[in-house]
């Protein structure tokens, strides 16, 4: 029966071995994280330093924030490829506002509202018109970043107020950055939302079987719309952080982030077919990706080579449980 693929929109996620695999997924990720942490501390003497470790967190906080909302979206059976383009558009709008003399609070508000608006636009197209989200968001990805390119061309916006720098560069206490605090708060909020509220249950229900969910009284379209808005909102927040950290806006900002965010979510054990996943897994995956890129960076490995490790990690971590189950099942 394994040769018969489940219908795309209503995958059957409730068989026993799969569930147990998901329960042990976080355990697997913890082992991987600890192993990478240990290897890193042996490989570089600079690794086990509070300031180094603090720098490390910047590798994943911004993408991680988006990954939480993306996890919910993917669990519900949809996807958003436009998140990096939303960052670019929101950042461009903030840059325009700076030219017009906006202050820090207004900038933050603009970034968040633009993000939310873009997410709502995606959500409307997907839920109102019933379009496949992967195609819609490939389109809006070009559209959002395209607007940023039309406005900016080959120029850059600079001159952000100095108080604006706090969001991406500021520290709340000692080596604990504002970004890290925000990441942890978001982790708790999204954990609560997904695993402790009826909204979270509905998200799982939709991902497992949208039709059954519909007939059980779940407003599938509205729930998905909210999830797209949340993803846009988190992208807007990430845009504020990145713009603040870099201190400038170019239309190519955050290029390729969407695939890294999705890698993070999938590595975190969220089923790309929907219906399964956990926030804890995403947090661990964020840490792992941060550890790998930062550790290799300390060893002077170029970024493009790191991406090989991230890609391999993704495939191996996904393939391991499948191979293991097969060996144990004596196929």
């Amino acid at each position: 029966m394994t040769d018969i693929p489940a219908p795309r929109h209503i995958p059957d996620r409730l068989d026993k071995p799969l569930r147990s695999a998901i329960f042990s997924w976080e355990a697997l990720l913890v082992v991987v994280a600890v192993a990478i942490f240990a290897i890193n501390s042996f490989a570089s003497p600079y690794f086990l330093d509070p300031y180094s470790l603090s720098d490390l967190t910047f590798n994943f906080t911004e993408k991680g924030l988006i990954a939480f909302a993306m996890a919910l979206l993917i669990i519900s059976g949809e996807i958003d490829l436009s998140v990096a383009a939303i960052i670019a558009l929101a950042s461009t709008m903030m840059g325009m506002a700076v030219q017009a003399g906006a202050g820090t609070p207004a900038l933050v508000a603009i970034g968040i509202v633009v993000g939310l608006g873009c997410g709502a636009f995606n959500g409307l197209l997907v839920t109102r018109l019933g379009l496949p989200s992967i195609v819609v968001t490939i389109g809006t990805m070009s559209l959002f970043r395209g607007i940023a390119f039309i406005i900016l061309g080959d120029q850059a916006y600079k001159g952000y107020p100095s108080s604006f720098a706090f969001f991406g560069q500021g520290y709340v206490w000692w080596v604990v950055s504002f970004e890290l605090v925000l990441f942890l708060i978001a982790a708790i909020v999204y954990w609560f939302l997904l695993h402790r509220t009826s909204f979270g249950r509905r998200v799982f229900a939709i991902g497992n079987n949208p039709i059954a969910a519909q007939f059980s009284g779940v407003r599938v379209g509205r729930t998905k719309f909210i999830l797209f808005c949340l993803t846009g909102l988190m992208s807007g927040i990430a845009s504020v952080l990145i713009t603040s950290r870099l201190g400038s806006t170019r239309p190519s900002i955050a290029q390729g982030y969407e695939l890294e965010v999705i890698t993070m979510v999938v590595l975190g054990g969220v089923s790309i077919l929907g219906g399964a996943g956990s926030i804890l897994g995403v947090v661990l995956a964020a840490f792992i990706m941060g550890l790998v890129t930062f550790g290799l960076g300390l060893l002077n490995v170029p970024g493009i080579v790191m991406s090989i490790f991230i890609g391999l990690l993704l495939i191996i971590v996904i393939a391991l449980p499948i191979v293991w189950r097969r060996l144990r099942g004596g196929r």
Binding site: T2, D3, I4, P5, P7, R8, H9, L81, L125, T127, L129, G130, L131, P132, I134, V135, V136, I138, G139, T140, M141, S142, L143, F144, R145, G146, I147, F149, I150, L152, G153, P210, I211, Q214, V220, G221, P251, Q255, G256, L259, I262, T263, V266, I272, L273, P302, I304, V305, M306, S307, I308, I310, G311, L312, L314, I315, I318, A319, I322, V323
Partner: protein, 324 residues
């Protein structure tokens, strides 16, 4: 169903003719046959890639690694050419096809044997293949001065007044047309997209067919690798970065349903031509090339809205309605 497909392509063709008409009101020489031939030649690589992606999408899969495959294979043939200029170009093309096939087979095996969703597999290999290009080249570029004149000149040579690159595109289009309409494999590819479960009961090996389509898209990626490098005469790690989404965009505009089973060779070709015409036209009608991204984005959204209206008449309506 066939009449319906024709219907959609005629609309796309009409849109393209209208587009050319609009452009020629601003710049009359655009509709010149010589210029249109040039546009076709410029779009050849995208058309070839879109066809490779099409067979994958038809089986409800996706290949995000095509542009990285192109980049890696292009680097392989460019370095081979720089080191051994004596290798004849046809042999280099065979090598490009073989390297591409190998990369595609890796994707295919992971999808077939391990049942990992193709979007996850190719998301991984997307970064791996591009990273491997860096490892292979050490980050160095292969510039025009290191490539042999044959390597650069082959696709530019005119045959019956048309460059070889265009002939290759025409040949690939013809091959795909035969594959999709005249072979059992083509039938199986459509069948899997329409209903994978029924395909199994009809005796189609779904996993193996998926493996084959990834091999096809891999070979196409490899072939495009040579064509791309010899066209833009530079091989680097950055080649075709992010281009995978342009390929998918061409397919979507061409009416290929991301849910599988719907789409045709003509659609993929016209979808690629649509994007090619826009990118060729913007500079000549004095619109900043920075507009291109937003325009193709809008075209994708518009295309998917229109296509979804078509699909709705096809009986998938029951699922769609409940979902929305």
């Amino acid at each position: 169903m066939k009449a319906f497909l024709k219907y959609r392509e005629i609309w796309l063709l009409a849109a393209i003719v209208l587009l050319i008409g609009l452009i020629s009101t601003r710049f009359p020489a655009f509709a010149d046959p010589g210029n249109l031939r040039q546009v076709f030649n410029d779009t050849s690589i995208l058309m070839i890639l879109a066809l490779g992606q099409m067979v994958v999408i038809l089986t409800r899969s996706i290949d995000l690694s095509m542009a990285s495959n192109l980049c890696f294979t292009g680097m392989v043939v460019a370095m081979l050419n720089a080191a051994h200029p004596a290798i004849p170009i046809p042999l280099l093309i065979v090598i490009a096809l073989a390297v591409g096939l190998m990369l595609g087979a890796i994707n295919g095996l992971l999808v077939w044997r391990l049942n990992i969703p193709s979007i996850v597999v190719t998301l991984g290999t997307l970064t791996i293949y591009r990273g491997a290009t860096f490892v292979l080249s050490g980050g160095a570029w292969v510039n025009a001065d290191k490539m042999s004149p044959d390597f650069i000149g082959f696709q530019r040579a005119a045959f019956l007044g048309i460059p070889v690159l265009s002939w290759i595109a025409i040949l690939v289009i013809a091959l795909f047309f035969v594959l999709m309409t005249r072979t059992a494999l083509g039938r199986s590819i459509y069948a899997i997209g329409v209903n994978p479960t029924a395909s199994v009961y009809a005796g189609i090996d779904v996993g193996r067919t998926k493996f084959i389509v990834f091999c096809i898209s891999g070979m196409i990626g490899g072939l495009s690798g040579y064509l791309w490098i010899s066209r833009y005469v530079i091989a680097s790690v950055e080649v075709a970065n992010g281009y995978e989404l342009n390929i998918i965009a061409a397919c979507v505009i061409g009416g290929i349903s991301i849910a599988g089973g719907i789409g045709s060779v003509g659609g993929a070709v016209l979808g690629a031509l649509f994007l090619g015409i826009i990118s060729n036209a913007l500079p000549v009608i004095n619109i900043s090339p920075f507009w291109q991204m937003a325009i193709s984005g809008s075209a994708i959204i518009l295309a998917v809205v229109l296509n979804a209206r078509g699909e709705r008449q096809q009986g998938r309506i029951i699922l769609r309605k409940v979902e929305a």
